[in-house]
């Protein structure tokens, strides 16, 4: 039986920090809105495989928007996701530099075709994973809860089982120092990450 999630319930669940609730919402969003992504892709020279990649990125982006307070409920979740799908697809096409004509109501674009650049994402993921997995699991937990999930230190202290907020802050400080040291002691990794992570986002 499919349970209905209102927009309010969706955002509350994503803010809650409860993994089970978050997973349920992700499943709901996929069941409800993935078809919309597929339809959009097919109308714009993409396919179902593209829709899967884009939809995953959109779910991550939406999650972070909710966590950071960027999505405030001014538009419906459906509208917000649709605009994210469209923007994400535009970014991908720009990256791939395909020669297509895109007909999206207010926008018509034409681009020259060159070779797609998709290996960079895989390389980045591999380097980041290798780097972070040199830290303890506790460090990875604190750092991702803070920098990706955007939880406050008081929330992290509770979620990760620290005595208090200060203990969590101290742990975060130590973990960051360790991470920075790992970056500093490997100049090749440092310049590679710099190129892939920082320069590509500018």
């Amino acid at each position: 039986m499919t349970i209905f999630y209102s927009d309010k319930r969706i955002t509350e669940a994503l803010k809650s920090g409860n993994e089970e609730d978050t997973n349920k919402v992700f499943r709901y969003l996929y069941k409800t809105y993935f078809g919309m992504a597929v339809q959009f892709m097919k109308k714009n020279t993409g396919d179902e495989s593209d829709a899967e990649d884009v939809f995953q990125e959109v779910m991550i982006g939406f999650y972070q928007s909710v966590r950071k307070g960027l999505y405030r409920g001014d538009s419906s979740v459906k509208t917000y996701l649709y605009s994210m799908i469209r923007n994400q697809w535009l970014i991908r096409l720009k990256d791939r530099k395909r020669n297509i004509a895109m007909d999206i109501q207010e926008n018509v674009m034409k681009m020259q075709q060159t070779h797609p650049v998709e290996n960079a994402a895989g390389e980045l993921n591999s380097k980041v994973r290798t780097l972070l997995e040199k830290l303890s699991e506790r460090c990875r937990e604190v750092l991702t809860l803070y920098y990706f999930d955007n939880f406050a230190m008081s929330e992290i202290a509770q979620m990760a089982g620290y005595d208090n907020e200060n203990s969590a802050k101290t742990q975060k400080y130590k973990c960051m120092q360790r991470l920075i040291a790992l970056i500093a002691e490997n100049p090749d990794l440092r310049s590679s990450l710099h190129e892939l992570l920082l320069e590509s986002n500018q």
Binding site: L132, L143, F148, D149, I183, H194
Partner: protein, 249 residues
């Protein structure tokens, strides 16, 4: 000597959390202090790496979830087709005797079975030595004679584990109990096993009871084949077999 810059200050600068003037002041310092610039760059790289790692882990979770959801949806669609197929099959299965009867001028298999099912005589009572030594068997056959097939079967089933000399006899009566208790499939299996054993002394009555099992299940063609054998060989209950063949034809 310059005061060391705290990580908290670097983080505030990188997240634009400093007041505007302090933010601008810090940016100016970076331009003239290459060591500070390198420190801030490494800090920024660490922050972005941690953020990106969170993204990687969430992407893995989403990928797994999407695969599971797709599989559930595919299973649901398959189940829908199977439900539709099952409904059709159930309709055919339940309807087919009625349809078959309609086209076969209303043969009542249950009635033929009821009219012809009788207990095979309790021959074990005649084996006084065996029965006297075996209280459980006496009890079982008492239940059998009273047509309490469930209790009779339970005791016979227990006996079948131990009484090798009476194994064939016990198996045969177990089959009748199963048939009497409505466990037609299991009864058919017991009688079929007896028939497949060339030395089996209960072969002829087993064939008769197997025929009744088939009639009860509406398996007319298979029942007719056995009835014809019984009729030709003039074995156990052959007159009844001939009468049933007439009714079926």
């Amino acid at each position: 000597m310059k005061d060391p810059i705290s990580p908290e200050l670097i983080e505030k600068y990188l997240t634009h959390s400093l007041p505007e003037t302090e933010q601008a002041e810090f940016a100016r310092k970076l331009k003239s202090d290459s060591a500070l610039a390198a420190q801030v760059s490494d800090y920024r790289l660490a922050m972005k790496s941690a953020e990106h790692y969170g993204k990687i882990k969430l992407k893995e979770r989403l990928g797994k979830m999407m695969t599971e959801t797709k599989a559930e949806q595919a299973k649901w669609h398959n189940n829908q087709w199977m439900r539709i197929a099952a409904v059709i099959l159930i309709f055919l299965a339940t309807g087919s005797p009625f349809l078959f009867n309609y086209f076969n001028q209303g043969i009542d298999y249950q009635q033929i079975y009821t009219e012809n099912f009788n207990l095979y005589p309790n021959v074990l009572n005649q084996r006084s030595d065996d029965v006297q030594k075996n209280v459980m068997l006496t009890e079982a056959m008492s239940y059998y004679s009273d047509k309490d097939f469930v209790n009779a079967f339970a005791l016979l089933d227990e006996l079948s584990k131990n009484q090798d000399s009476l194994a064939a006899t016990v198996a045969f009566y177990k089959g009748i109990c199963l048939l009497g208790a409505g466990k037609d499939e299991e009864a058919a299996e017991v009688f079929s096993n007896i028939l497949s054993n060339p030395d089996e002394s209960y072969k002829n009555p087993a064939r008769w009871y197997l025929t009744l099992t088939l009639i009860k299940s509406g398996k007319q063609a298979e029942a007719e084949a056995l009835l014809k054998e019984i009729s030709v060989e003039k074995t156990y209950n052959y007159l009844k077999a001939e009468k049933i063949l007439e009714e079926l034809e």
